[in-house]
Every structure is written in structure tokens, then in C-alpha cells.
């Protein structure tokens, strides 16, 4: 490697090693330590030159049903939300891709704009809409459609709604990118050959848009699994998601080793989809 290359690569390489790779090794290390009443609150890796590691935190995670339920809960919420996002996002992306060319830019901008506005505020907006004396209940009551306020918040419904709302742009963008590339003549050809619109869609459009579906599903599922803000603000006491449990272990219980082992457990869960995503990103580049 010549001097110029070294000059370009060395600084970002050092930065990423120190602030991205090393932190993971530390998380791994602390997940193998005991909790301790000290600063920082965990036992050192080497005690008087002796290596001290323990699997106790992992055994604890395995033995307590709370963590299992949080782990599976995160997968369940994320999977349902991803499916709903796909069902809602696909027609939206397809409609934009088939809209007159002069409209496409504006419509796409309208999908992207919420992504640029504060995530926290977009989640917060739903509290005002969904709470017992909120806007939705108020409207339904004054229209006479219901007699008593519906319970719309702090349950599974509101968590999934929040996830779908927050991550919808992540689904629409890759789907649009894929659908926009498809030549509408393909649908015409299918129609000319006698396929009804539904059949042309299932046999031509859908298979050809599969890369966009894969990208969208991964882009929604991965962050949804690790989500903390949405289950915290829109969920109830029964909403168990691994990201929220990790937060509570760290900030409320101050049990750093258990929080670290939860982080490792979450990474194991996401390793496969994240690997797929990276391969996919490389394919795009």
C-alpha cells in the first residue's frame, strides 16, 4: 500500500476499529462478567492475572421466562408489523411507480419527508390520537359510532400500528426503486397473451419485484426487533420486547452484565437478517 492510500484509509480505519469493533468485544467481555458493587459495576476480566469468565448471565437469561417472552415477543411484533407494512407499502409503491412521470417525484418526496422529521414526534403523535380521551375516540363518540371510548393504546394494536407507521417509508422506497425499473410493457404483454390483471400481477410483476420486497422486509424487520421507543411509549405492561427489557436492565436495574448478554442475544437473533442485508447492500452497490 502506498503512502497516499495509507493516508486515505488509516484515519477512518482506526476510527471504526476503536468506536465500532472494540465496543463489541467489550460488550462480549462484560456479558461474561459478574455484576459487582463497584464502578463500573462488573467484575474485571483478569483478577490478579487470572482470567475470570462466567456463563451465569446467559444461564440467567435462559432460566427466566421473562427474557424468553421478550425475545419471542420482539420477533412476533416485528414479523406482524413487517407483514402489514408490506401489504400497505406495496400498493403505495406500485401506485407511485405507475403514476404519471411528473407526479412521481412529488409523491416519492411525500413518502420520504416523514422519515426526515423526528421519529420521536411521529410516535408521540399517536398518543394524542389513540388515548382514551384522544382524537380518534372523540371523533367516533361524537359521530355516535361508539357509546364508550375504545381501548386503542398501550396494547398490541398500538405497538404494531406504531411500528408500521414509523417504518413504512423503509418499505416503500426499495419497493419503488424495484417497481420503477419494471417495464409496463411486460404487464401489457401478459394481458395480450390473455392473462387477467390479477394473474399478470402474480406471475409477472410480483416475482420481478422480489428483490425490492426482500430489501424492504429486512429494512423494516431489523430495526423493529431492536425497537425501544415504540413499545415504551405506545405499549402496555404486557408489551415485552427485547430492546425495552435491555433498556430497563441497564437504566433501571443497573445490571450491566445482563444488559450486555441481552445485547449479544439480540445480535445472534439478527445475525442472519443482517448478513442478508449486507449482502444485498453490496449487490446494490
Amino acid at each position: 500500500m502506498n503512502a497516499r492510500r495509507f493516508g486515505v484509509v488509516a484515519l477512518p480505519y482506526a476510527w471504526l476499529l476503536l468506536f465500532f469493533l472494540v465496543p463489541f468485544l467489550i460488550v462480549l467481555k462484560i456479558s461474561l462478567a459478574h455484576e459487582a458493587v463497584s464502578i463500573p459495576p462488573y467484575t474485571p476480566l483478569f483478577d490478579h492475572g487470572r482470567l475470570v469468565v462466567t456463563g451465569a448471565n446467559y444461564l440467567f437469561l435462559l432460566s427466566d421466562a421473562l427474557y424468553w417472552r421478550a425475545y419471542l415477543g420482539a420477533i412476533r411484533y416485528a414479523a406482524i408489523a413487517t407483514a402489514v407494512t408490506l401489504l400497505l407499502g406495496y400498493p403505495l409503491a406500485y401506485g407511485i411507480a405507475r403514476a404519471p412521470a411528473r407526479w412521481r417525484g412529488v409523491l416519492l418526496m411525500l413518502v420520504i419527508l416523514p422519515f426526515w422529521t423526528s421519529f420521536l414526534i411521529r410516535v408521540y403523535a399517536w398518543i394524542g390520537l389513540l388515548k382514551e380521551n384522544g382524537i380518534v375516540n372523540h371523533a367516533l363518540l361524537s359521530l355516535g359510532l361508539i357509546d364508550a371510548p375504545l381501548r386503542l393504546i398501550n396494547n398490541d394494536f398500538s405497538v404494531i400500528l406504531g411500528l408500521v407507521y414509523a417504518y413504512l417509508p423503509f418499505m416503500v422506497l426499495p419497493l419503488y426503486a424495484q417497481l420503477e425499473k419494471l417495464d409496463p410493457a411486460l404487464s401489457d404483454a401478459a394481458a395480450d397473451l390473455g392473462a387477467r390483471p390479477a394473474r399478470a400481477f402474480w406471475q409477472v410483476t410480483l416475482p420481478l419485484s422480489l428483490p425490492g420486497i426482500v430489501a424492504g422486509v429486512l429494512l423494516v424487520f431489523i430495526p423493529a426487533v431492536g425497537e425501544f421507543v415504540i413499545p415504551d411509549l405506545l405499549g402496555g405492561p404486557n408489551t415485552l420486547m427485547i430492546g425495552k427489557i435491555l433498556w430497563d436492565e441497564f437504566f433501571t436495574n443497573r445490571d450491566w452484565p445482563v444488559a450486555a448478554s441481552l445485547a449479544i442475544a439480540m445480535l445472534l437473533l439478527l445475525a442472519l437478517p443482517m448478513g442478508l442485508m449486507r449482502r444485498f447492500l453490496r449487490g446494490v452497490a
Binding site: A99, R122, Y124, A125
Partner: protein, 264 residues
């Protein structure tokens, strides 16, 4: 041949856009409501905007968030551009695979893991070397730079691989040094991507709650942290007013950036 959108697609698009914008609209409308009760409309008022401007905690937090986002976006721009340049122009060098993996992994890493791991690093570093002394603006900015680098790198790399390299080669043939070629030819060509990357890194930093909560110190509460603790206690008209101001700022900024890119 013109194609008409089917009624089903039009209906789904209307539903989609109403779904995306109705919650945002409700926040804006109720920020002008004179009643403290969020759902009862009691007349138009700027009352909550006045209260917001007198709120010192929010003002201080907004200032800190601005400072962090400026440092983070600029740092991420510099490092991210170097990463993109290395990945786009140097096809092979020692450790390239690890480099590429580390550069893109934060894109798909749950924030809570990034936040926890960086905090644990800062604590371990302080224990071992005495730096950083406690946590604050510097540690949040470092965390946000690390996040932003990935986004800047992806945007800039796409731009670097898409334009015609003959321009750079022609300049080299005409006797310009590599540094001169970069600043006179490459930089102007990737400028829109740099602007977009900086803006995205700024927004990500300004908006981040989870990573900042882990890496902030007691004297460096950011705006999302203040909003979060207030929202946890319930809906507040002041937060509606703040949200409206943020929305206006974003619309102006993104609209302006869009125009800038289009003019080029």
C-alpha cells in the same frame, strides 16, 4: 400509451398518504389550541409557543443538540467521504473486507446495541486511560459520528461509482497531481452527495434518543431526551408546538436541499 391507475391503487395511495400525514397534521393543529386539554378545541392561540420559548430546559437542550449535530455531521462527512473514496477507488488493500463490513454495519445495527456498546467503551477507556473524563457533548458526538459515517459512505460511494472516471483520468494526463484532481474535479462532482450526506448525518444526530441516552452525561441532556421524558408523562401542548417548529424546519431544509440538488 398512457395507462390509468386502477381505482384500487388510487384508493390505497390515498389511504397510505392519509396514514402518513394525519398524525403529523393532528400535532400541528392542536399546537394552536388554546385549551390545555389536547382533544378539546377551544380556539386559536399562540400560547404554547410563548410557553415553549420561555422554557429554559428545552432551550438549553436544543442548543446542545445543535452543537452535537454540527460536530457529528461534519465529522461523519469527513470520515464517511474517506471511507467512500477508499471503497470506490481502491479495489484491494490489506483488511478491505473488515473495513467494508465495519463501515456499513451501523446502517443495520439496532441503535440500542450501538448505544450500549459505545457507553461500555467510554467507561472502559476512562478507567484505563483517564479519557474521556465523564460523558457529555464529546462522547455523544463521537457516537453520532460513528453512526453517520455509514450513511455518508453509502451515499457518497454511490455517487463516486456513478460518474465518468475519464474526467479524473483526463486531469491526471494533463499533469494535475492526485490531490489537485480530487479538489478540482472529484469534489465538485460529488458535492450534491456530500450535501445530502451531511444533512442526513445532521438529522440522524439531532433526532437520536437511544444512542444519546446511553452516551450523554448529566449536564448534556439533548432535545430528544427532554421530549422523551416529557412525553412519558403524557401529551403536552408545548411539545406539540415544538414538534410543529421542527416540522417546519425540516420541510424548509429538505425542500431547499432538493432544489439545490436539482439546480445542479
Amino acid at each position: 400509451m398512457t395507462r390509468r391507475l386502477s381505482p384500487f391503487l388510487i384508493a390505497m395511495m390515498v389511504i397510505g398518504f392519509v396514514f402518513l400525514y394525519a398524525p403529523i397534521a393532528s400535532v400541528v393543529v392542536y399546537s394552536f389550541n388554546s385549551s390545555r386539554l389536547v382533544t378539546v378545541w377551544a380556539g386559536f392561540s399562540f400560547e404554547w409557543y410563548g410557553a415553549l420559548f420561555r422554557n429554559e430546559a428545552i432551550g438549553r437542550a436544543a442548543f446542545i443538540s445543535f452543537e452535537v449535530a454540527l460536530i457529528a455531521a461534519t465529522g461523519a462527512l469527513i470520515l464517511g467521504t474517506l471511507v467512500a473514496y477508499a471503497l470506490a477507488r481502491y479495489r484491494r488493500f490489506a483488511g478491505r473486507t473488515l473495513f467494508a463490513a465495519m463501515a456499513t454495519a451501523p446502517l443495520v445495527m439496532p441503535e440500542i446495541i450501538t448505544g450500549l456498546s459505545l457507553l461500555l467503551l467510554f467507561v472502559a477507556l476512562e478507567q484505563a486511560t483517564g479519557w474521556p473524563e465523564g460523558r457529555g457533548i464529546v462522547t455523544i458526538a463521537i457516537a453520532h459520528i460513528t453512526l453517520g459515517v455509514a450513511f455518508v459512505a453509502v451515499i457518497v460511494e454511490a455517487r463516486l461509482s456513478s460518474f465518468n472516471r475519464a474526467l479524473e483520468e483526463a486531469a491526471l494526463d494533463l499533469g494535475a497531481g492526485p490531490a489537485r484532481v480530487f479538489f478540482v474535479i472529484t469534489l465538485p462532482l460529488i458535492a450534491p452527495a456530500l450535501a445530502a450526506g451531511w444533512l442526513l448525518a445532521f438529522t440522524l444526530s439531532f433526532d437520536d434518543l437511544v444512542i444519546a441516552s446511553f452516551t450523554a452525561g448529566p449536564a448534556s441532556t439533548t432535545l430528544p431526551m427532554v421530549i422523551f421524558s416529557s412525553v412519558r408523562l403524557g401529551v403536552s401542548p408545548q411539545i406539540n408546538a415544538l414538534a410543529t417548529l421542527i416540522l417546519i424546519a425540516v420541510a424548509v431544509l429538505v425542500g431547499g436541499a432538493n432544489r439545490l440538488v436539482r439546480v445542479r
